[in-house]
């Protein structure tokens, strides 16, 4: 298994311990532990309302957690503000795609470079050599990424006019533009047809083979089992199983959570 291969000496990219989040009377997350090693695709699954999205929003800074420690590439980080998490190195995509619809595909990806570039007002107004150099760099990287996800030919098209599958790929390219330690995908296959799913799966595999780390939240169990190195199953805000896809699939609590208590009796 590739999971075993990459374990040897590789660093932990994301380490979450004891994450908890309460909304009023609902304990949405309690004591969730999750660690993801570099170069892995980690899956997070669970039935509806299990807390997947809450967990996702907590680690990306959208909801401040009530408890838990969070480390990214060995550095503790505080998931307190979305833009700081992005700067720290987690890039996300959204379940319902959120591009900048009236900007071109290229410009969308160029926005992704914002957090790794520095030029300000004066550079822009005076067009300093440093500004020009950086601008050229940004455009080049953005083009490269469009090529990487396979939509380079749409560079000058408005994002809103791309097909659904292409919009998803554009969103991934934009996220990759931030040079993330961890690429977090929130149900990327939602609403995709079978062909689009295959393209997406191949893209995520390629991203992994380039040494990047991916957290995948997904409803589609088949996609998760076929793609992930490790899978974590949440139910009622708690981790009920963790391991390789094969281990998780046989786990009695997982079967119960998905199929109901009566099934394995």
């Amino acid at each position: 298994m590739s999971a075993a291969a990459s374990t040897g000496g590789s660093a932990v990219v994301l380490a979450v311990r004891g994450a908890g989040k309460r909304f009023g009377g609902l304990q949405a997350l309690s004591g969730v532990d999750l660690s993801i090693e570099r170069g892995q695709v980690a899956g997070l699954i669970g039935p509806n309302g299990a807390g997947k999205t809450t967990f996702f929003n907590v680690i990306t800074g959208l909801y401040p957690p009530d408890s838990g420690t969070f480390e990214l590439a060995g550095q503790p980080y505080k998931p307190s503000a979305v833009h700081e998490v992005a700067r720290a190195g987690i890039a996300r995509t959204f379940q319902n795609i959120r591009l900048f619809p009236d900007m071109t595909a290229l410009e969308n990806v160029m926005v992704g470079r914002h957090v790794r570039t520095a030029s300000g007002l004066w550079g822009a107004v005076l067009r300093t050599p440093a500004f020009r150099r950086e601008e050229a760099d940004i455009a080049e990287r953005a083009r490269e990424l469009l090529r990487y996800v396979g939509i380079e030919r749409y560079a000058d098209y408005r994002a809103r006019t791309l097909s659904y599958g292409d919009q998803r790929r554009l969103e991934i390219a934009r996220a990759l533009a931030t040079d993330p330690q961890l690429l977090a995908l929130d149900e990327p296959a939602a609403g995709m047809n079978a062909t689009e799913k295959v393209v997406l799966r191949d893209l995520i595999r390629r991203i992994r083979s380039d040494g990047r780390t991916v957290l995948l939240i997904e409803h589609d169990v088949k996609l998760v089992m076929g793609l992930c190195d490790t899978v974590t199953v949440l139910d009622y805000g708690k981790v009920i199983a963790q391991g390789t896809p094969a281990q998780v699939q046989r786990h009695p609590q997982v079967i119960e959570a998905y199929l109901g208590a009566g099934h394995h009796a």
Binding site: V111, H114, G165
Partner: protein, 379 residues
């Protein structure tokens, strides 16, 4: 684009530039009032360009933009009119000659002060969005005006509704734009009116502003602004510090307003709170929106049109008034015609007179066969 057509463009551009520069020389014999209208229109262009940064680029609806105009105007008025020296003996002692600031100090100072006001306004309100932001900025605009109107008791700072007069004209290298300039040319004497020189100064400021806006648009900062306008949540997820970027937009936009106000004060020689009413803010927003939100040529056309229209109508309305024996009041007619013009524009061109051309291309328009192995999309 062939080389020939780009050369044609350059030629057209040069012709237009020369025409703009010499235009007032031909207009001033008809009456310097017309040149004055042209110069005032350029000040409105400056205001509209500033507001366009806030509304057009960053998508923050600001209905109190005139406040920054007021800040710039009052700054110059206080600095260069004898008012402060007359009110405060210590001021008169320190500056027995008065403070006569040259343009090189006035413009940066007005820009800085207005930017400060912009950030000051921005800081508490940036959590608000859309309509709520519009209401609060509207209030801010009114507050500034009310301040100017009432800051005469117990200490007379702004001279209240009577306003400040005897403001210095702009001076460039000790050369005052307030007096006409006589130049002798080989074919005779030419008298260049004061308003004509102001027109040139404002034209220069507009050109500089357009270059600044154009460069901002196409930069890391400009893209961040537009990203915020398009989807604030996604912009934040890309690591954009949305609060700082919005403050920057507010400050940058205010800068233009402040400079425009400073020029207005020097140009008129008189300011009073009346010039900074809510109606002015509404007009500036209308210029940006009618012209074409976020599109520089559109914004300029919108500003020129709305600034010139009332003045032109003023002349026409006078005639109509006398024709009807004074039954139709000029002011009312003017308002009616402007309202009519606005309604017609919005009906015929809902995205503005000269909107942003559909930016980039559309993948949908080219049909599904244009799509590569994306597995076919959904609409």
């Amino acid at each position: 684009m062939t080389l020939k057509s780009s050369r044609m463009q350059l030629l057209a551009f040069a012709v237009a530039a020369v025409a703009l520069v010499v235009l007032p020389l031909f207009v001033q014999p008809i009456g310097s009032g017309w040149v004055r209208i042209m110069a005032t229109a350029l000040l409105y262009v400056l205001l509209a360009l500033g507001l366009n940064i806030v509304v057009g680029y960053a998508g923050l609806l600001d209905l109190g933009f005139v406040a920054f105009y007021a800040v710039g105007a009052y700054m110059v008025a206080l600095l260069t009119s004898p008012h402060l020296a007359e009110q405060f003996t210590w001021f008169a002692q320190h500056f027995p000659q008065g403070v006569h600031t040259p343009i090189w100090v006035v413009i940066p100072l007005a820009a800085l002060l207005a930017a400060l006001a912009g950030v000051l306004l921005g800081t508490p309100v940036l959590k608000l969005r859309g309509d709520y932001l519009a209401i609060v900025t509207l209030g801010f605009g009114e507050i500034i005006r009310v301040f100017m109107n009432n800051l005469e008791h117990p200490i007379n700072i702004t001279n209240g509704p009577r306003g400040l007069d005897r403001i210095d004209p702009v001076s460039v290298f000790g050369f005052s734009l307030g007096r006409p300039l006589d130049v002798s040319l080989p074919w005779g004497e030419l008298r260049i009116a004061s308003v004509t020189m102001y027109y040139w100064l404002f034209l220069l400021l507009v050109v500089v502003s357009v270059v600044i806006c154009r460069r901002l648009e196409d930069s890391r900062i400009g893209r961040a602004w537009m990203a915020i306008r398009e989807d604030e949540m996604a912009a934040r997820a890309m690591g954009i510090h949305t609060r700082n970027m919005k403050l920057l937009a507010f400050g940058m936009g205010a800068t233009f307003g402040g400079v425009s106000g400073a020029m207005f004060a020097s140009f008129q020689g008189f300011v009073s709170p009346e010039s900074f009413s809510l109606m002015e803010s509404v007009m500036i927003v209308a210029m940006v929106v009618l012209g074409g939100l976020g599109h520089l040529p559109g914004v300029i056309v919108g500003a020129l049109m709305l600034a010139a229209l009332p003045e032109v109508l003023r002349y026409v309305a006078g005639d109509i008034q006398s024709m009807t024996g004074g039954r139709i009041d000029a002011a009312i007619l003017r308002q009616l015609l402007i309202a009519l013009a606005m309604i017609v524009i919005m009906l015929l061109r809902p995205r503005g007179l000269w909107p942003t051309p559909e930016h980039g291309r559309s993948a949908m328009a080219e049909g599904p066969e244009g799509l590569p192995g994306s597995g076919g999309g959904r609409a």
